[in-house]
């Protein structure tokens, strides 16, 4: 399968660098944008499969970016990486824009799923989504779908 690309958006360069280090050995491409506007530019230039964005950023904020991405690139799997959890706007956006997961900062300290595992799962989610879209007959015949999985 062709390599997938994950785009990270955060206004803090140190955050992006730490993520780059963390995901250095992972089997997918990673790219970075320091603002929502930069992210949209990158989306025009290359295919992106998973988007991970911060919420509070100067200029376009994360929620606005998520809305545009949902509209223009509905296939992209969206995730949020943010230190802020308690605004209702954010919660609404997560629900409405179909955000796959909210990753709270700090992301590598919390108990539970590792950061890399989360990204991996997002890529799997994307692949599964594409597979389902490509084989509509499987949807019609659950038996066939069951067999093909085996």
């Amino acid at each position: 399968m062709k390599e997938k690309t994950v785009l990270f958006v955060d206004d803090d360069g140190i955050v992006l660098r730490s993520i780059a280090r963390d995901l250095m050995d992972e089997p997918y491409n990673i790219c970075f944008a320091k603002s929502g506007e930069d992210a949209l530019e990158i989306l025009l230039q290359q295919e992106v499969h998973v988007l991970v964005t911060d919420i509070r950023m100067p200029g376009m904020n994360g929620v606005e970016l998520l809305k545009i991405v949902t509209q223009k690139y509905p296939k992209i799997v969206k995730m949020v990486l943010s230190g802020y959890t308690n605004t209702s706007d954010l919660m609404t956006a997560i629900y409405k824009e179909g955000v796959l997961k909210f990753i709270p900062k700090p992301w590598n300290l919390e108990e539970g799923e590792e950061f890399r595992a989360i990204i991996k799962r997002a890529i799997d989610h994307y692949n599964h989504q594409i597979e389902q879209a490509a084989r509509p007959e499987a949807e019609l015949n659950p038996c066939l779908h069951h067999i093909s999985e085996k």
């Binding site: 730490s18 280090r21 509070r56 700090p106 992301w107």
Partner: protein, 605 residues
């Protein structure tokens, strides 16, 4: 009927009566003047006429005598003067006689013409006599005049004239008598009428008097009786009987006065009733006041309890705001901790890779003495492959980056913690610090950074202001409150315009002033008077305590003798102004604080 109308009617009756009387008097006067003007002049004229004729008669007799004497004297004296006299008298006589004949009646004319006939005969003889005299024959002349024929004619003439004169005299007397009778009749009549009029006038006068008295009495009665009733009623009302009835049904002025009086009485009654009610009300109020006093005491007690509770709540609110602050600061901490942790993990991986590689190198070094050269070379190439696959070159380079980034992260954490410590310097009332508000603003802005960092342009214009003695922690709390409010206001507005918060500091002669203004939506005039009230909030339930500004007010106004002013206009923004006295009197104690009036310092914009 009105009194004025009644009076008018009375006067009209009297006037009419006077008119009737006047008219009758006039009629009577006519009765008097009619005979006077008609019968009396007639009688007077007949007197005149008869008198004239009488005069003529006298003249005839006179001139006849003059003729006789003149001619005789001429005959005897031959004096020419007598001739002349005779001629004069003759023409006079002729004129008078002619007139008498013309004016005379049938019988008179008969007498006179007989007299004239005799006269003519006489004249003829007398002329003859005069001729004789003139011819110097005086004797003949006297003879003619002495002749019997002359005297016969003279006698006839005289007889006729005398008869005529008698007739005239009788006629004159008759006319005079007639006239006298008429005048006396008229006089008697006048007297009668005058008497009659006098009687009439006196009767009329009496009737008029009776009429005037009667109508006067009636009118007076119609005024007096209701007035008497009114007076009685007034006296009765005066004695307190407000139910006194006034039995006046007329529609005249008195009736109206009575109606007004009645209305007044009714009003008085009502007023009295309301006064009674008022009295009762006053009594009630007194009781209510007493109750209110009791209630007030209870309220005071409740108030004390509430105050205790309030300070508890204020304490809670402080905890809440500290909690909010902590949450905000925690968010601020999340990012550096996040990347430091991530870098730490990466570093861990790097170290484990390097350790693995190091072990390989150690193994290689251990094998140098016991292994073949070709074996060693193989091993070296395996190690190099591993090293490349591990991206050791990159790792070695990146380790410096990790340390730099982590150091930065740790610095950020340390800075945040330091700010927090600066910000919440010991918050006890007695603890006063030397405080520079510009430093306070900088610290507070750092703490509030997570609120104001994005999308808001914070402009500061901080003048070189003197330091003041105050409770730094408390002032910082106010600054934080106002800055966060401003940030939230700016964010809540719908416009695309760049949100700005402007912070200015400057000093006047007495005050240190700090202005914090935003271009948010502003505060509506219905909210503005309440913004300093405890628990007043426009934020959704659970998002604001409604105590932020209340506590700020308490800190600035009550605890620091300063002033906290707000100036806001909807759609333009809000400006809060903190004024702190440069010289501090003393810290107010709690009881003074509670008495402080806070409305004075609110300025609505």
């Amino acid at each position: 009927m009105r009194i004025s109308q009644r009076l008018n009617l009375g006067f009209l009756a009297i006037a009419m009566w006077a008119a009737v009387v006047g008219h009758i008097s006039l009629f009577q006067l006519n009765q008097i003047s009619d005979p006077l003007s008609r019968s009396i002049p007639g009688s007077l004229e007949s007197i005149n006429e008869t008198a004239y004729l009488e005069g003529l008669t006298q003249d005839i007799r006179y001139y006849d005598e003059v003729l006789t004497q003149s001619v005789r004297n001429y005959a005897f004296t031959q004096d020419k003067e007598w001739e002349q006299r005779y001629k004069n008298a003759k023409s006079e006589f002729d004129t008078v006689l002619k007139e008498a004949i013309d004016k005379g009646t049938g019988r008179d004319q008969g007498l006179l013409s007989s007299a004239n006939k005799a006269h003519l005969a006489l004249v003829e003889m007398e002329n003859t006599s005069i001729e004789f005299v003139n011819n110097g024959m005086a004797e003949q002349a006297v003879n003619i005049l002495e002749s019997s024929s002359y005297w016969d004619q003279k006698r006839i003439h005289k007889q006729n004239i005398e008869d005529y004169a008698l007739r005239r005299g009788a006629e004159y007397d008759e006319a005079l008598a007639n006239s006298t009778r008429i005048v006396s009749l008229a006089m008697k009549r006048t007297q009668d009428i005058t008497e009659y009029s006098r009687r009439l006038v006196s009767i009329f006068a009496v009737v008029a008097l009776v009429l005037a008295l009667g109508s006067g009495f009636l009118i007076a009665r119609s005024i007096y009786i209701p007035l008497k009733k009114l007076k009685a009623a007034a006296a009765e009302i005066g004695q307190g009987n407000l139910d006194a009835q006034i039995d006046i049904k007329s529609t005249d002025e008195i009736g109206r006065v009575a109606a007004s009086f009645k209305k007044m009485t009714d009003d008085l009654k009502r007023t009295t009733t309301s006064i009674d009610n008022l009295g009762r009300e006053i009594a009630d109020r007194k009781e209510a006041e007493h109750n209110a006093k009791l209630a007030c005491k209870e309220l005071e007690k409740a108030n004390r309890e509430l105050k205790d509770m309030q300070s508890e709540r204020v304490q809670n609110a402080k905890l809440v705001s500290i909690g909010q602050l902590a949450a905000g600061v925690a968010h601020e901490l999340n990012t550096p901790i996040g990347f430091v942790a991530s870098n730490f993990e990466t570093l861990e991986r790097y170290v484990s890779k390097m350790r693995k590689l190091l072990l390989e190198y150690e193994d290689l070094i251990g094998q140098i003495q016991i292994s073949e050269k070709s074996e060693l070379l193989d091993k070296t190439s395996v190690i190099n492959k591993t090293r490349n696959s591990m991206k050791i070159d990159f790792i070695l380079e990146d380790i410096a980056g990790i340390f730099n980034d982590s150091r930065e992260g740790i610095k950020r954490v340390a800075s945040i913690v330091q700010t927090l410590r600066d910000f919440s310097r010991v918050d006890q009332l007695g603890n006063l610090d030397t405080y520079n508000i510009n430093d306070g603003i900088k610290t507070t802005l750092s703490v509030a950074m997570n609120e104001v960092k994005y999308g808001i342009d914070v402009k500061t214009e901080l003048s070189d202001v003197p330091e003041i003695i105050c409770s730094a922690g408390q002032i910082n709390q106010v600054l934080l409150n106002l800055i966060i409010n401003a940030a939230q206001a700016v964010k809540s507005r719908k416009s695309d315009q760049q949100g700005t918060i402007e912070i200015r500091t400057y000093a006047t002669d007495y005050d240190l002033v700090c202005e914090i203004s935003d271009n948010g939506p502003g505060i509506g005039p219905d909210h503005l008077p309440h913004i300093f009230d405890p628990f007043f909030t426009t934020k959704p339930v659970g998002q604001g305590t409604g105590l932020g500004l209340s506590i700020s007010y308490d800190i600035i106004v009550s605890k620091h003798n300063g002033n906290l002013l707000v100036d806001s206009s909807v759609g333009k923004g809000t400006k809060f102004t903190i004024k702190l006295p440069l010289r501090r009197k003393k810290i107010k104690n709690e009881s003074e604080v509670s008495r402080h009036e806070r409305e004075n310092s609110i300025i609505c914009g």
